[in-house]
Amino acid sequence: MIVVDLRSAVPPFEQIRVQILDLVRSGDLPPQTRLPTVRKLASDLGLAPNTVARAFRELERQGVVETRGRHGTFVSTHGDAVQRRAQLAAAIFAEQMRTLRLSNEEAIVLALAALGADRAPENPLNSTDE
Protein backbone atom coordinates (compact mmCIF):
# COMPACT_ATOMS: atom_id res chain seq x y z
CA MET A 1 0.00 0.00 0.00
CA ILE A 2 1.06 3.58 -0.59
CA VAL A 3 -0.04 6.16 1.96
CA VAL A 4 0.33 9.87 1.28
CA ASP A 5 -0.02 12.39 4.07
CA LEU A 6 -0.47 15.89 2.70
CA ARG A 7 0.33 17.41 6.13
CA SER A 8 3.81 15.92 5.99
CA ALA A 9 6.78 18.16 5.20
CA VAL A 10 7.94 15.57 2.68
CA PRO A 11 6.56 16.32 -0.81
CA PRO A 12 3.96 13.80 -2.04
CA PHE A 13 6.10 12.66 -5.00
CA GLU A 14 8.94 11.84 -2.59
CA GLN A 15 6.57 9.95 -0.28
CA ILE A 16 5.44 7.84 -3.24
CA ARG A 17 9.00 7.28 -4.49
CA VAL A 18 10.34 6.21 -1.10
CA GLN A 19 7.43 3.87 -0.38
CA ILE A 20 7.64 2.11 -3.74
CA LEU A 21 11.40 1.78 -3.30
CA ASP A 22 10.89 0.26 0.16
CA LEU A 23 8.26 -2.15 -1.17
CA VAL A 24 10.61 -3.30 -3.93
CA ARG A 25 13.56 -3.70 -1.56
CA SER A 26 11.49 -5.63 0.98
CA GLY A 27 10.20 -7.98 -1.72
CA ASP A 28 6.57 -6.94 -1.28
CA LEU A 29 6.72 -5.77 -4.89
CA PRO A 30 8.50 -8.61 -6.69
CA PRO A 31 10.14 -8.11 -10.09
CA GLN A 32 7.72 -7.88 -13.04
CA THR A 33 4.88 -6.64 -10.82
CA ARG A 34 2.77 -4.14 -12.72
CA LEU A 35 2.23 -0.82 -10.99
CA PRO A 36 -1.02 1.10 -11.36
CA THR A 37 -1.17 3.67 -14.13
CA VAL A 38 -0.11 7.22 -13.29
CA ARG A 39 -3.68 8.41 -13.75
CA LYS A 40 -5.16 5.67 -11.54
CA LEU A 41 -2.67 6.17 -8.72
CA ALA A 42 -3.06 9.93 -8.92
CA SER A 43 -6.85 9.73 -8.76
CA ASP A 44 -6.78 7.21 -5.88
CA LEU A 45 -4.45 9.47 -3.90
CA GLY A 46 -6.20 12.67 -4.96
CA LEU A 47 -3.00 14.09 -6.43
CA ALA A 48 -2.13 15.68 -9.75
CA PRO A 49 -0.95 13.14 -12.36
CA ASN A 50 2.30 15.12 -12.71
CA THR A 51 3.15 14.38 -9.07
CA VAL A 52 2.87 10.63 -9.55
CA ALA A 53 4.57 10.83 -12.94
CA ARG A 54 7.52 12.58 -11.31
CA ALA A 55 7.85 9.81 -8.71
CA PHE A 56 7.71 7.18 -11.46
CA ARG A 57 10.34 9.06 -13.51
CA GLU A 58 12.67 9.16 -10.52
CA LEU A 59 12.18 5.45 -9.90
CA GLU A 60 12.80 4.69 -13.56
CA ARG A 61 16.00 6.77 -13.51
CA GLN A 62 17.12 4.71 -10.49
CA GLY A 63 16.39 1.51 -12.38
CA VAL A 64 13.73 0.40 -9.88
CA VAL A 65 10.89 0.38 -12.41
CA GLU A 66 10.67 0.25 -16.16
CA THR A 67 8.01 1.56 -18.51
CA ARG A 68 6.89 -0.72 -21.30
CA GLY A 69 4.85 1.62 -23.45
CA ARG A 70 1.15 0.85 -23.42
CA HIS A 71 1.64 -2.20 -21.20
CA GLY A 72 2.37 0.00 -18.20
CA THR A 73 5.06 0.40 -15.57
CA PHE A 74 6.68 -2.70 -14.06
CA VAL A 75 9.10 -3.38 -11.24
CA SER A 76 12.47 -4.06 -12.86
CA THR A 77 13.93 -7.55 -12.77
CA HIS A 78 16.36 -6.19 -10.23
CA GLY A 79 15.34 -3.07 -8.41
CA ASP A 80 19.00 -2.57 -7.51
CA ALA A 81 20.50 -0.58 -10.38
CA VAL A 82 24.02 -2.01 -9.83
CA GLN A 83 22.76 -5.58 -9.96
CA ARG A 84 20.75 -4.79 -13.07
CA ARG A 85 23.77 -3.35 -14.88
CA ALA A 86 25.87 -6.33 -13.82
CA GLN A 87 23.22 -8.69 -15.19
CA LEU A 88 23.23 -6.79 -18.48
CA ALA A 89 27.04 -6.98 -18.70
CA ALA A 90 26.91 -10.73 -18.04
CA ALA A 91 24.33 -11.17 -20.79
CA ILE A 92 26.56 -9.28 -23.25
CA PHE A 93 29.56 -11.38 -22.21
CA ALA A 94 27.60 -14.63 -22.71
CA GLU A 95 26.46 -13.50 -26.17
CA GLN A 96 30.04 -12.69 -27.22
CA MET A 97 31.27 -16.09 -25.99
CA ARG A 98 28.61 -17.80 -28.10
CA THR A 99 29.65 -15.73 -31.11
CA LEU A 100 33.24 -16.89 -30.57
CA ARG A 101 31.97 -20.50 -30.30
CA LEU A 102 33.55 -21.00 -26.87
CA SER A 103 32.08 -23.54 -24.46
CA ASN A 104 30.57 -22.50 -21.13
CA GLU A 105 33.58 -23.86 -19.28
CA GLU A 106 36.05 -21.90 -21.41
CA ALA A 107 34.00 -18.75 -20.92
CA ILE A 108 33.95 -19.27 -17.14
CA VAL A 109 37.73 -19.75 -17.06
CA LEU A 110 38.18 -16.51 -19.02
CA ALA A 111 35.76 -14.66 -16.75
CA LEU A 112 37.52 -15.89 -13.63
CA ALA A 113 40.89 -14.94 -15.09
CA ALA A 114 39.57 -11.48 -15.90
CA LEU A 115 38.24 -11.14 -12.37
CA GLY A 116 41.66 -12.15 -11.07
CA ALA A 117 40.29 -15.18 -9.26
CA ASP A 118 42.82 -17.34 -7.41
CA ARG A 119 41.70 -20.57 -8.99
CA ALA A 120 39.37 -21.78 -11.68
CA PRO A 121 36.43 -24.07 -10.96
CA GLU A 122 37.20 -27.74 -10.59
CA ASN A 123 38.27 -29.24 -13.98
CA PRO A 124 36.26 -26.80 -16.03
CA LEU A 125 37.83 -27.77 -19.36
CA ASN A 126 37.42 -31.49 -18.79
CA SER A 127 33.70 -31.39 -18.36
CA THR A 128 31.51 -31.68 -21.44
CA ASP A 129 28.63 -29.51 -22.53
CA GLU A 130 25.26 -31.06 -21.88
Binding site: M1, L29, T33, R34, P36, R39, D44, L45, L47
Partner: protein, 310 residues
Amino acid sequence: MDFTLILTWLIIGVLALLAGVTLFMLQTDRYQQKLFFRFWQAVGLPVQADNVAAAARLRIRTRTSAMFVGELAGLFLVALVLFVNPSLASSSFIWLFVVPAVMTTMTTLDVGVALHYSLFRRRADAPRLARATATTMRDYVSPWRLRVAPALVVTAVLLNLVGAVLSWVGVIDPATFGRSSTLPLLAAAVTVFAVGKAVERRILQQTQPAADELELAWDDAFRAETFRALLLLETIVAWLAVGAAGIAILEGIDAIAGTVWGTGAGMQLFTLGFFVVLSIFSFGAAQSHFRHRLWPNLVTPHPDSGLGSN
Protein backbone atom coordinates in the same frame (compact mmCIF):
# COMPACT_ATOMS: atom_id res chain seq x y z
CA MET B 1 -56.69 -14.08 -25.74
CA ASP B 2 -54.96 -17.44 -25.69
CA PHE B 3 -53.53 -19.20 -22.66
CA THR B 4 -49.84 -18.59 -23.56
CA LEU B 5 -50.41 -14.84 -23.82
CA ILE B 6 -52.25 -14.77 -20.49
CA LEU B 7 -49.48 -16.79 -18.85
CA THR B 8 -46.79 -14.49 -20.25
CA TRP B 9 -48.59 -11.38 -18.95
CA LEU B 10 -49.05 -13.13 -15.61
CA ILE B 11 -45.32 -13.89 -15.30
CA ILE B 12 -44.40 -10.29 -16.21
CA GLY B 13 -46.94 -9.02 -13.67
CA VAL B 14 -45.63 -11.27 -10.88
CA LEU B 15 -42.03 -10.23 -11.57
CA ALA B 16 -43.04 -6.53 -11.53
CA LEU B 17 -44.95 -7.05 -8.28
CA LEU B 18 -41.94 -8.73 -6.64
CA ALA B 19 -39.67 -5.89 -7.75
CA GLY B 20 -42.14 -3.32 -6.42
CA VAL B 21 -42.45 -5.09 -3.06
CA THR B 22 -38.66 -5.30 -2.75
CA LEU B 23 -38.32 -1.57 -3.51
CA PHE B 24 -40.93 -0.84 -0.85
CA MET B 25 -39.21 -3.08 1.72
CA LEU B 26 -35.88 -1.41 0.97
CA GLN B 27 -37.17 1.70 2.71
CA THR B 28 -37.23 -0.14 6.04
CA ASP B 29 -34.19 -0.27 8.34
CA ARG B 30 -34.79 -3.93 9.06
CA TYR B 31 -34.56 -5.01 5.43
CA GLN B 32 -31.50 -2.83 4.82
CA GLN B 33 -29.84 -4.41 7.86
CA LYS B 34 -30.73 -7.87 6.59
CA LEU B 35 -29.17 -7.17 3.18
CA PHE B 36 -26.07 -5.70 4.80
CA PHE B 37 -25.69 -8.70 7.10
CA ARG B 38 -26.09 -11.11 4.18
CA PHE B 39 -23.50 -9.24 2.12
CA TRP B 40 -21.11 -9.02 5.07
CA GLN B 41 -21.31 -12.77 5.61
CA ALA B 42 -20.79 -13.45 1.90
CA VAL B 43 -17.69 -11.27 1.48
CA GLY B 44 -16.24 -12.06 4.89
CA LEU B 45 -14.65 -8.68 5.60
CA PRO B 46 -14.42 -7.17 9.08
CA VAL B 47 -16.44 -4.08 10.03
CA GLN B 48 -14.44 -2.18 12.58
CA ALA B 49 -15.68 1.34 12.10
CA ASP B 50 -19.08 3.02 12.05
CA ASN B 51 -18.31 4.91 8.86
CA VAL B 52 -17.53 1.64 7.02
CA ALA B 53 -20.81 0.01 8.06
CA ALA B 54 -22.83 3.15 7.25
CA ALA B 55 -21.20 3.54 3.82
CA ALA B 56 -21.68 -0.15 3.03
CA ARG B 57 -25.35 -0.05 4.05
CA LEU B 58 -25.95 3.05 1.94
CA ARG B 59 -24.25 1.47 -1.07
CA ILE B 60 -26.24 -1.77 -0.69
CA ARG B 61 -29.46 0.23 -0.52
CA THR B 62 -28.55 2.36 -3.57
CA ARG B 63 -27.36 -0.63 -5.54
CA THR B 64 -30.36 -2.82 -4.75
CA SER B 65 -32.77 0.05 -5.49
CA ALA B 66 -31.05 0.67 -8.83
CA MET B 67 -31.18 -3.00 -9.74
CA PHE B 68 -34.89 -3.36 -9.00
CA VAL B 69 -35.72 -0.11 -10.77
CA GLY B 70 -33.73 -1.63 -13.65
CA GLU B 71 -35.84 -4.77 -13.42
CA LEU B 72 -39.03 -2.71 -13.61
CA ALA B 73 -37.64 -0.81 -16.61
CA GLY B 74 -36.77 -4.09 -18.34
CA LEU B 75 -40.22 -5.50 -17.62
CA PHE B 76 -41.80 -2.31 -18.95
CA LEU B 77 -39.84 -2.68 -22.19
CA VAL B 78 -40.85 -6.31 -22.75
CA ALA B 79 -44.43 -5.47 -21.80
CA LEU B 80 -44.38 -2.76 -24.45
CA VAL B 81 -43.02 -5.22 -27.03
CA LEU B 82 -45.67 -7.79 -26.07
CA PHE B 83 -48.43 -5.17 -26.18
CA VAL B 84 -47.44 -4.04 -29.68
CA ASN B 85 -46.90 -7.57 -30.95
CA PRO B 86 -48.92 -10.12 -28.90
CA SER B 87 -48.06 -12.87 -31.41
CA LEU B 88 -44.57 -13.01 -29.83
CA ALA B 89 -46.06 -14.69 -26.76
CA SER B 90 -44.77 -18.24 -26.65
CA SER B 91 -43.19 -20.69 -24.24
CA SER B 92 -39.77 -19.23 -25.10
CA PHE B 93 -40.74 -15.55 -24.74
CA ILE B 94 -39.61 -15.46 -21.12
CA TRP B 95 -36.18 -16.86 -22.04
CA LEU B 96 -35.68 -14.91 -25.24
CA PHE B 97 -37.01 -11.51 -24.20
CA VAL B 98 -37.77 -11.16 -20.49
CA VAL B 99 -34.58 -12.68 -19.05
CA PRO B 100 -32.12 -10.78 -21.31
CA ALA B 101 -34.03 -7.47 -21.04
CA VAL B 102 -34.40 -7.61 -17.26
CA MET B 103 -30.82 -8.71 -16.67
CA THR B 104 -29.44 -6.08 -19.03
CA THR B 105 -31.33 -3.20 -17.42
CA MET B 106 -30.56 -4.45 -13.89
CA THR B 107 -26.84 -4.78 -14.62
CA THR B 108 -26.72 -1.46 -16.49
CA LEU B 109 -28.06 0.43 -13.48
CA ASP B 110 -25.80 -1.58 -11.15
CA VAL B 111 -22.75 -0.60 -13.20
CA GLY B 112 -24.04 2.98 -13.33
CA VAL B 113 -24.09 3.10 -9.52
CA ALA B 114 -20.58 1.62 -9.36
CA LEU B 115 -19.24 4.21 -11.80
CA HIS B 116 -21.09 7.18 -10.39
CA TYR B 117 -20.78 6.77 -6.63
CA SER B 118 -17.66 6.32 -4.54
CA LEU B 119 -18.10 4.20 -1.45
CA PHE B 120 -16.08 6.64 0.66
CA ARG B 121 -15.36 10.33 0.33
CA ARG B 122 -11.90 11.79 0.62
CA ARG B 123 -11.41 13.60 3.94
CA ALA B 124 -9.10 16.60 4.02
CA ASP B 125 -7.42 15.64 7.31
CA ALA B 126 -7.08 11.92 6.62
CA PRO B 127 -4.13 10.17 4.97
CA ARG B 128 -4.72 8.92 1.45
CA LEU B 129 -4.15 5.30 0.65
CA ALA B 130 -3.77 3.47 -2.66
CA ARG B 131 -2.72 0.04 -3.80
CA ALA B 132 0.84 -0.15 -5.12
CA THR B 133 0.00 -2.79 -7.72
CA ALA B 134 -2.33 -2.74 -10.69
CA THR B 135 -5.36 -4.98 -10.27
CA THR B 136 -6.90 -7.15 -12.95
CA MET B 137 -10.16 -9.03 -13.34
CA ARG B 138 -8.45 -12.13 -11.95
CA ASP B 139 -8.14 -10.34 -8.61
CA TYR B 140 -11.90 -10.01 -8.36
CA VAL B 141 -13.26 -13.06 -10.16
CA SER B 142 -11.71 -16.53 -10.24
CA PRO B 143 -10.04 -17.36 -13.59
CA TRP B 144 -12.36 -20.26 -14.39
CA ARG B 145 -15.44 -18.07 -13.88
CA LEU B 146 -13.88 -15.54 -16.24
CA ARG B 147 -13.58 -18.20 -18.94
CA VAL B 148 -17.24 -19.31 -18.90
CA ALA B 149 -18.68 -16.42 -20.96
CA PRO B 150 -16.03 -16.45 -23.74
CA ALA B 151 -16.24 -20.25 -23.93
CA LEU B 152 -20.01 -20.05 -24.36
CA VAL B 153 -19.76 -17.30 -27.00
CA VAL B 154 -17.31 -19.44 -28.98
CA THR B 155 -19.60 -22.47 -28.55
CA ALA B 156 -22.55 -20.42 -29.82
CA VAL B 157 -20.58 -19.35 -32.90
CA LEU B 158 -19.55 -22.96 -33.57
CA LEU B 159 -23.11 -24.26 -33.12
CA ASN B 160 -24.38 -21.65 -35.60
CA LEU B 161 -21.75 -22.76 -38.09
CA VAL B 162 -22.65 -26.42 -37.52
CA GLY B 163 -26.34 -25.57 -37.96
CA ALA B 164 -25.61 -23.72 -41.22
CA VAL B 165 -23.53 -26.63 -42.57
CA LEU B 166 -26.12 -29.25 -41.55
CA SER B 167 -28.86 -27.16 -43.22
CA TRP B 168 -26.75 -26.93 -46.36
CA VAL B 169 -26.14 -30.70 -46.57
CA GLY B 170 -29.78 -31.44 -45.74
CA VAL B 171 -29.33 -33.21 -42.41
CA ILE B 172 -31.63 -30.68 -40.74
CA ASP B 173 -34.55 -28.70 -42.11
CA PRO B 174 -33.15 -25.33 -43.36
CA ALA B 175 -36.51 -23.55 -43.01
CA THR B 176 -36.85 -24.59 -39.35
CA PHE B 177 -33.29 -23.58 -38.55
CA GLY B 178 -33.71 -20.27 -40.41
CA ARG B 179 -36.89 -19.40 -38.53
CA SER B 180 -35.18 -19.69 -35.15
CA SER B 181 -33.77 -16.73 -33.25
CA THR B 182 -30.20 -18.00 -33.17
CA LEU B 183 -28.57 -15.20 -35.14
CA PRO B 184 -30.11 -12.27 -33.19
CA LEU B 185 -29.16 -14.00 -29.93
CA LEU B 186 -25.64 -14.67 -31.19
CA ALA B 187 -25.31 -11.00 -32.13
CA ALA B 188 -26.63 -10.05 -28.68
CA ALA B 189 -24.15 -12.39 -26.96
CA VAL B 190 -21.18 -11.00 -28.90
CA THR B 191 -22.31 -7.40 -28.28
CA VAL B 192 -22.91 -7.90 -24.56
CA PHE B 193 -19.55 -9.65 -24.25
CA ALA B 194 -17.67 -6.86 -26.07
CA VAL B 195 -19.43 -4.08 -24.16
CA GLY B 196 -18.87 -6.00 -20.92
CA LYS B 197 -15.11 -6.13 -21.51
CA ALA B 198 -15.02 -2.38 -22.15
CA VAL B 199 -17.01 -1.69 -18.98
CA GLU B 200 -14.72 -3.99 -16.97
CA ARG B 201 -11.69 -1.97 -18.09
CA ARG B 202 -13.48 1.25 -17.19
CA ILE B 203 -14.36 -0.01 -13.69
CA LEU B 204 -10.79 -1.19 -13.09
CA GLN B 205 -9.60 2.36 -13.73
CA GLN B 206 -12.26 3.82 -11.44
CA THR B 207 -10.98 5.92 -8.52
CA GLN B 208 -11.02 4.22 -5.12
CA PRO B 209 -10.73 6.92 -2.45
CA ALA B 210 -9.75 5.32 0.87
CA ALA B 211 -8.14 6.43 4.11
CA ASP B 212 -7.17 2.95 5.32
CA GLU B 213 -7.00 -0.67 4.21
CA LEU B 214 -10.44 -1.55 5.51
CA GLU B 215 -12.08 1.14 3.39
CA LEU B 216 -10.19 -0.05 0.33
CA ALA B 217 -11.15 -3.66 1.06
CA TRP B 218 -14.86 -2.78 1.24
CA ASP B 219 -14.55 -0.80 -1.97
CA ASP B 220 -13.02 -3.91 -3.54
CA ALA B 221 -15.95 -5.97 -2.23
CA PHE B 222 -18.49 -3.83 -4.07
CA ARG B 223 -16.30 -3.71 -7.14
CA ALA B 224 -16.13 -7.52 -7.15
CA GLU B 225 -19.91 -7.61 -6.81
CA THR B 226 -20.35 -5.39 -9.87
CA PHE B 227 -17.99 -7.60 -11.86
CA ARG B 228 -19.94 -10.65 -10.76
CA ALA B 229 -23.21 -9.11 -12.00
CA LEU B 230 -21.58 -8.07 -15.27
CA LEU B 231 -20.13 -11.53 -15.90
CA LEU B 232 -23.42 -13.17 -14.98
CA LEU B 233 -25.14 -11.07 -17.65
CA GLU B 234 -22.47 -11.93 -20.25
CA THR B 235 -22.68 -15.61 -19.36
CA ILE B 236 -26.47 -15.83 -19.36
CA VAL B 237 -26.83 -14.07 -22.71
CA ALA B 238 -24.08 -16.31 -24.11
CA TRP B 239 -25.91 -19.36 -22.74
CA LEU B 240 -29.15 -18.16 -24.37
CA ALA B 241 -27.26 -17.99 -27.69
CA VAL B 242 -25.89 -21.51 -27.16
CA GLY B 243 -29.32 -22.81 -26.15
CA ALA B 244 -31.09 -21.15 -29.09
CA ALA B 245 -28.59 -22.59 -31.60
CA GLY B 246 -28.71 -26.05 -30.02
CA ILE B 247 -32.49 -26.15 -29.90
CA ALA B 248 -32.72 -24.84 -33.49
CA ILE B 249 -30.52 -27.73 -34.67
CA LEU B 250 -32.62 -30.24 -32.70
CA GLU B 251 -35.83 -28.73 -34.12
CA GLY B 252 -34.34 -29.04 -37.60
CA ILE B 253 -33.56 -32.71 -36.98
CA ASP B 254 -37.07 -33.31 -35.62
CA ALA B 255 -38.58 -31.64 -38.71
CA ILE B 256 -36.72 -34.04 -41.01
CA ALA B 257 -37.18 -37.17 -38.87
CA GLY B 258 -40.78 -36.40 -37.87
CA THR B 259 -39.98 -36.74 -34.16
CA VAL B 260 -40.41 -34.36 -31.22
CA TRP B 261 -38.02 -35.74 -28.62
CA GLY B 262 -35.05 -33.61 -29.74
CA THR B 263 -36.72 -30.27 -29.08
CA GLY B 264 -38.07 -31.45 -25.72
CA ALA B 265 -34.71 -32.77 -24.58
CA GLY B 266 -33.03 -29.58 -25.80
CA MET B 267 -35.38 -27.39 -23.74
CA GLN B 268 -34.74 -29.51 -20.64
CA LEU B 269 -30.97 -29.25 -21.10
CA PHE B 270 -31.25 -25.53 -21.76
CA THR B 271 -33.20 -24.91 -18.55
CA LEU B 272 -30.79 -27.08 -16.57
CA GLY B 273 -27.83 -25.17 -18.00
CA PHE B 274 -29.44 -21.87 -17.08
CA PHE B 275 -29.55 -22.87 -13.43
CA VAL B 276 -25.98 -24.19 -13.63
CA VAL B 277 -24.88 -20.76 -14.90
CA LEU B 278 -26.72 -19.07 -12.03
CA SER B 279 -25.08 -21.46 -9.57
CA ILE B 280 -21.59 -20.78 -10.92
CA PHE B 281 -21.92 -17.11 -10.02
CA SER B 282 -23.83 -17.62 -6.77
CA PHE B 283 -22.07 -20.36 -4.83
CA GLY B 284 -18.54 -21.32 -3.88
CA ALA B 285 -16.16 -18.40 -3.51
CA ALA B 286 -18.08 -16.33 -6.07
CA GLN B 287 -18.37 -13.39 -3.66
CA SER B 288 -15.23 -13.85 -1.58
CA HIS B 289 -12.59 -14.61 -4.22
CA PHE B 290 -11.33 -11.01 -4.09
CA ARG B 291 -10.73 -11.28 -0.33
CA HIS B 292 -8.58 -14.39 -0.67
CA ARG B 293 -6.66 -12.77 -3.49
CA LEU B 294 -6.31 -9.14 -2.38
CA TRP B 295 -6.91 -9.23 1.37
CA PRO B 296 -5.80 -12.62 2.69
CA ASN B 297 -4.83 -11.18 6.07
CA LEU B 298 -8.05 -9.37 6.88
CA VAL B 299 -9.82 -11.46 9.52
CA THR B 300 -13.56 -11.38 10.04
CA PRO B 301 -14.85 -11.39 13.62
CA HIS B 302 -17.73 -13.72 14.37
CA PRO B 303 -21.04 -12.25 13.14
CA ASP B 304 -22.52 -12.51 16.67
CA SER B 305 -19.93 -10.10 18.03
CA GLY B 306 -22.30 -7.22 17.25
CA LEU B 307 -19.92 -5.30 15.03
CA GLY B 308 -22.36 -5.47 12.16
CA SER B 309 -25.25 -3.84 13.96
CA ASN B 310 -24.08 -0.30 13.47
